[in-house]
């Protein structure tokens, strides 16, 4: 089966000399729901820019459903829909015209484009605004408009660059359902996000890119299984003495008077921990996972040798959101 997207030795050096992509090889199977993750500036948008013909590559090859983007640009582009990270609609058009115009570029006749636009705008909860000028939309509405626009020609591969950034929780969940539905209908989805729980919930396969290179590329399940440690934060009713921490069965440190952090490795178990706490008559009010598991892995893979300054006790989820 042909891959939905195949990148071979993709390189990009910007005019200012910055090397944003350093030989990326990547394959996304048809029908996949794929997450492309990486810290700010890793090269995700550059990669997507090259695939969507907005950025000139310095070297390498892009194939969309087997169509080489250089040799058969039109065939490749017809398979592809893109929701860019930055808003790029015409502010002076009406919402529905944005979608119809985009469809027109792909050769979809106006009447058919209008019918299709209505379907997507309704599904995305934007139909009430279809006669509104684009510049009057809120940030979350703009994101949804860009999704409707990307679907105007019913592409087989949809790439979304941080589609849920700045979108409220309710709309975000409805966007997830919408995209999952598309995927169920056979559309291949590639998505970047900084909300790792989003990637964990939605995506089957994942690649992590860091400083222009792919550092991990595997099924989500394999990756999560690889993660062999987990950090918990315990909120205590009775404080633990500082010297007691050193006797804990697993590495433990105090976050403040009421909270401690404990790290469990593969084979460790919470029962042992609680028995030890019981023995000291320490009552645990509540507990939570410090970082979501994918987040831990992400940090392991991408954190630079010199760790960036993070305030102690600030959950990684917030530090990264």
């Amino acid at each position: 089966m042909t891959a939905a997207l195949r990148l071979t030795n993709l390189q990009k050096t910007y005019r200012n000399g910055h090397r944003a992509l350093d030989g990326v090889d990547l394959e996304v199977a048809a029908g996949d729901f794929f997450a492309l993750l990486g810290p700010n500036g890793a090269g995700k948008s550059t990669l997507i820019g090259i695939v969507s013909s907005l950025v000139n590559k310095s070297a390498g090859r892009v194939e969309v459903f087997g169509h080489d983007l250089d040799r058969e640009p039109e065939a490749a582009k017809r398979c592809l829909g893109v929701v860019p990270q930055e808003f790029n609609c015409n502010n002076f058009e009406k919402v529905i015209d944005v979608v119809i115009t985009q469809a027109g570029y792909y050769g979809v006749p106006a009447a058919q484009a209008r019918a299709q636009a209505e379907v997507y705008l309704r599904q995305l909860g934007l139909w009430e605004k279809h006669q509104t000028q684009v510049r009057e939309l809120s940030g979350g509405m703009r994101r949804r408009l860009m999704i409707a626009r990307a679907l105007a020609h019913q592409p087989r591969l949809l790439i979304l660059d941080e589609p849920t950034a700045g979108v409220d929780i309710e709309i975000r969940r409805s966007m997830w359902r919408f995209v999952e539905e598309l995927n169920a209908q056979g559309v291949t989805i590639i998505l970047t996000t900084h909300y790792l729980e989003e990637a964990e919930a939605l995506c089957r396969n994942i690649a992590i890119i860091d400083r222009g290179a792919i550092v991990e590329h595997a099924p989500m399940r394999t990756l999560l299984a690889k993660l062999n440690r987990e950090t918990f934060v315990l909120y205590l009713q009775t404080p633990l003495a500082a010297e007691a921490l050193r006797e804990s069965p697993y590495p433990m440190r105090a976050l403040d008077a009421e909270a401690v952090e404990v790290e469990l490795r593969e084979g460790d178990d919470l029962n042992t921990l609680f028995r030890w706490l019981d023995a000291r008559q320490v009552r645990v009010r509540s507990l939570r996972n410090k970082a979501n598991r994918l987040e831990q892995l992400f940090l392991d893979l991408t954190q630079p040798a010199t760790a960036p300054p993070t305030a102690p006790g600030v959950p990684a989820a917030q530090a990264h959101a």
Partner: protein, 267 residues
């Protein structure tokens, strides 16, 4: 979704046609929507020219090349508004698309460069011809129009509108900020038009300046256009067509190469 069958030649050309139509329609909607900025000003400016140069001053100038001064300058003034509006329309629209980044909608889609170019040029030509008609309409209050060679009038105005639409497109490709879209109109286009024989016959110039004027391409367009109305020109008409045709081919070629490379539109 199932794999679409390979596209037939017929289907491809239908797709191109729809894409072209989409761009041209959007361009037309744009200048009609902002008609107060695009259609009214040239009509007002030209009315002032007709009143001041044609009626007030023209009475004292006497005939030029055997024609009333008014009749002599009207074709040039129509041409002047056609040139300005073709250029301005495309340069501001395409630069606007770059500035707001919705040019990316075209880049991501399977639209070849020549269709993008044709669509924007169609917008510029449409506005230029509409303004040309408006100005001609206004001029009817000031002179008894007579058209010696209708086909020359029609073809010269069309080709000139195409030429300056292409010029505006190239300007927009290179423009990085708003200032860049007014430099060429102010420092190149306006002088060339004013010195392009709109207001005088180059016979009235000293020999040296006659020769210099012959290097100005606008002179050929204005004179060919005037020839269409009055049947008189400072230059041979065939040469005018040759020059206009050559410049169009040249500008089209450059624009297509730049679009292919992504100059000014891709990083």
């Amino acid at each position: 979704m199932s794999a679409p069958a390979a596209e037939s030649t017929g289907a491809r050309w239908r797709r191109y046609w729809t894409a072209f139509n989409t761009i041209a329609t959007r361009e037309t909607r744009r200048y009609l929507r902002i008609w107060l900025q695009t259609l009214v000003p040239p009509a007002i400016t030209m009315t002032l020219y007709f009143v001041i140069f044609g009626s007030l001053i023209g009475e004292r100038i006497g005939p030029v090349a055997g024609f009333d001064y008014m009749a002599y300058i009207v074709p040039g003034l129509i041409m002047m508004s056609v040139i300005t509006n073709a250029y301005t329309n495309v340069v501001s629209s395409f630069f606007g698309a770059k500035f707001q980044r919705f040019v990316e909608e075209l880049l991501v889609a399977p639209v070849p460069g020549w269709i993008i170019l044709a669509g924007f040029v169609a917008g510029g030509v449409g506005r230029a011809l509409l303004v040309g008609l408006l100005v001609t309409g206004v001029s009817l209050f000031f002179w008894d129009v007579s058209i010696a060679h209708p086909w020359i009038v029609a073809s010269v105005v069309l080709l000139t509108a195409i030429l300056f639409s292409l010029g505006g497109f190239l300007n927009a490709i290179f423009a990085r900020k708003f200032d860049d879209i007014s430099i060429v109109p102010t420092f190149v286009l306006t002088p060339l038009t004013y010195l392009g024989g709109v207001f005088y016959s180059i016979d009235m110039l000293p020999a040296f300046w006659q020769q210099v004027s012959l290097a100005n391409p606008v002179l050929y367009m204005v004179n060919a256009f005037r020839y269409g109305f009055l049947g008189t020109a400072d230059i041979p008409i065939a040469i005018a067509y040759g020059i206009i045709g050559l410049v169009i081919v040249l500008l089209t070629g450059i624009a297509l190469v730049l679009l292919e490379r992504g100059t000014g539109i891709r990083t």
